[in-house]
């Protein structure tokens, strides 16, 4: 049995969890269709450690896991509020470069 540690409920059978995609910046609501298509369909889908959304279905709780996509090793799991400040900064960078949108750090939905 593969075990994942839920930040809220502790170690649980991985069958209790649902994979929810990569953690990527949410485009601005006014962003063009192209930005939403990128966000919805195009993922990094590479090897190595990837930051992912996971959902504990029994308790309805979303959290973040860092997982190695080659070895299937779960490096760490944490509550979304702990998403590092640098990730939020990186999200803002993507917003600015790709979509020309300026936002403040506190406006970024992690």
């Amino acid at each position: 049995m593969k075990v994942m540690t839920c930040p809220l409920n502790g170690p649980r059978n991985i069958n209790e969890f649902v994979f929810g995609g990569e953690v990527t910046p949410l485009p601005d609501l006014q962003a063009p269709d192209q930005a939403w298509a990128e966000h919805t369909f195009y993922s990094y889908n590479g090897t190595g450690v990837v930051r992912e959304w996971w959902f504990h279905s029994a308790s309805g709780y979303w959290f973040v896991a860092e997982r190695d996509r080659t070895t299937d090793q779960i490096i760490k799991t944490y509550d979304p509020s702990e998403l590092a400040a640098d990730i939020r900064t990186a999200m803002l960078d993507v917003d600015r470069k790709m979509f020309g949108v300026e936002r403040k750090t506190e406006e970024v939905a992690p």
């Binding site: 298509a37 369909f41 889908n45 090897t47 299937d72």
Partner: protein, 418 residues
């Protein structure tokens, strides 16, 4: 007759197929008109049709392992066209037609065996879905009908019609359903392509793609410890589970997520199961091979991974469902299990056609439905490469459909829902 056999055995022409093998390896040239990355069924089929129909033979197929050693050898060799959308049915029906004549065309037995494929409905909602698929099939070339429990019982007498809380209510009977030897398909295409002058380079891994001014000009490849730069006019990528990794080298992302897909096979038993049987509700499909083994598979793993490890969870789930459908299978021993990497798209349709890089064509997103499309994919991709125009049959499957929100939804048509 015995004398004829003896004479045949002793004469100099024995064995009959002198040219059964591929030509010996040659050195890589500096330049090819077309470089195909990936020596699986799709790659060699594209090379074959380029040479056969378009006279383009300055072609190199680069394969990092060996011919047909990736997903071509890992799929469960199901051929069918009972899809849900008109685009899907038209495309896969053409593929079934090509498959039917491949042994003759190659003069090499691909062990094509038309068995029919039966998909089971356990709910009223599933029956409604089957009705729709029957009608779409009728209009676009698939031979499919909706049948009831009595006919199912006749087709598959060993099937448990009442597995617990999910009784078998109806079936989608696809008469064109078939199976073939997947390795032989790749070998047949490779043989036909190399006889026409195409070069197949095995143990040749593409390490980088050179793009200048938005146009592909060369690929970098490694043979052992030797690096090569190969100039090329056109590149086709056909690398199944590694599509996103290669596309990244060419500088773009794909609307793909890569999941492992596990399958397994039992010890051989007497022939008892003619059609290929699948149940989307049970996430399970079963078929008996010509050797008597039962091959079965199910849905992809629940989360993405670049690893062909196997898990006990998936085996337990799959076996439990298979035993519900065929209870006596509980006495069989499992012989082997394996995993392939599947590049899943969110609409369960493939990606064929142009990419953001000029002269760089995509054959990707084949998820769990790649083998059955090998001939028609090769044929249409060859036409695209030769003419630069996307054939109408594959126009709906371009990657740009994700940018325009025009997906081709085949979610309901997978043999085992994912």
């Amino acid at each position: 007759m015995p004398f004829a056999l003896l004479k045949y055995g002793l004469n100099g022409d024995f064995p009959f197929e002198k040219d059964a093998d591929l030509p010996p390896p040659v050195s890589l040239k500096k330049r090819y008109d077309v470089v195909i990355i990936g020596g699986g069924g799709h790659g060699v089929a594209t090379a074959y049709y380029l040479a056969k129909y378009h006279g383009i033979t300055n072609v190199a197929v680069l394969e990092k392992g060996y011919l047909g050693g990736g997903n071509t050898a890992r799929n469960t060799a199901v051929i069918r066209s009972n899809y849900l959308t008109s685009d899907g049915v038209k495309f896969y029906s053409e593929s079934v037609k090509l498959f039917q004549n491949l042994s003759n065309e190659f003069d090499f037995n691909i062990m094509y065996s038309k068995r029919g494929q039966l998909t089971l409905a356990h709910t009223d909602a599933a029956i409604r879905g089957f009705r729709q698929r029957t009608e779409v099939n009728k209009h676009f070339g698939g031979k499919t009908e909706l049948i009831g429990p009595k006919e199912i019982k006749e087709l598959v007498p060993t099937l448990n019609m009442n597995p617990g809380h999910q009784p078998v209510l109806a079936g989608l009977w696809h008469m064109d359903g078939a199976t073939a030897r997947h390795d032989a398909v790749a070998w047949g295409y490779a043989k036909g392509a190399t006889q026409r002058g195409v070069e197949l380079h095995q143990l040749t891994e593409v390490t980088d793609v050179v793009v200048e001014n938005g146009k592909v000009t060369a690929v970098k490849a490694k043979q052992g410890s030797v690096d090569h730069i190969i100039e090329c006019g056109v590149v086709v990528q056909a690398v199944a589970g590694h599509s996103s990794l290669l596309a990244e080298k060419a500088g773009f992302r794909l609307p793909i997520t890569t999941y492992p897909l596990q399958a397994m096979v039992t010890q051989p038993v007497k022939p008892f199961l003619d059609p290929l049987v699948s149940s989307p509700a049970f996430h399970c499909y079963v078929q008996q091979t010509g050797r008597g083994e039962l091959v079965f598979g199910g849905g992809s793993d629940p989360y993405p991974l670049y690893n062909s490890r196997s898990t006990l969870e998936l085996k337990e789930e799959l076996l439990a469902h298979a035993v519900e459908l065929f209870p006596f299978m509980a006495n069989l021993k499992l012989m082997r299990q394996w995993t392939g990497l599947t590049d899943m798209t969110s609409d369960y349709s493939p990606i064929m056609g142009e990419s953001p890089v000029q002269n760089y064509y995509l054959d990707a997103g084949w998820g769990t439905w790649g083998f059955k499309a090998t001939p028609i994919c090769g044929k249409t991709m060859a036409e695209l490469v030769a003419t630069g125009k996307t054939p109408s049959l594959i126009k709906p499957f371009g990657a740009e459909r994700f940018n325009d929100f025009r997906q081709v939804n085949e979610m309901g048509a997978t043999a085992a829902s994912h």
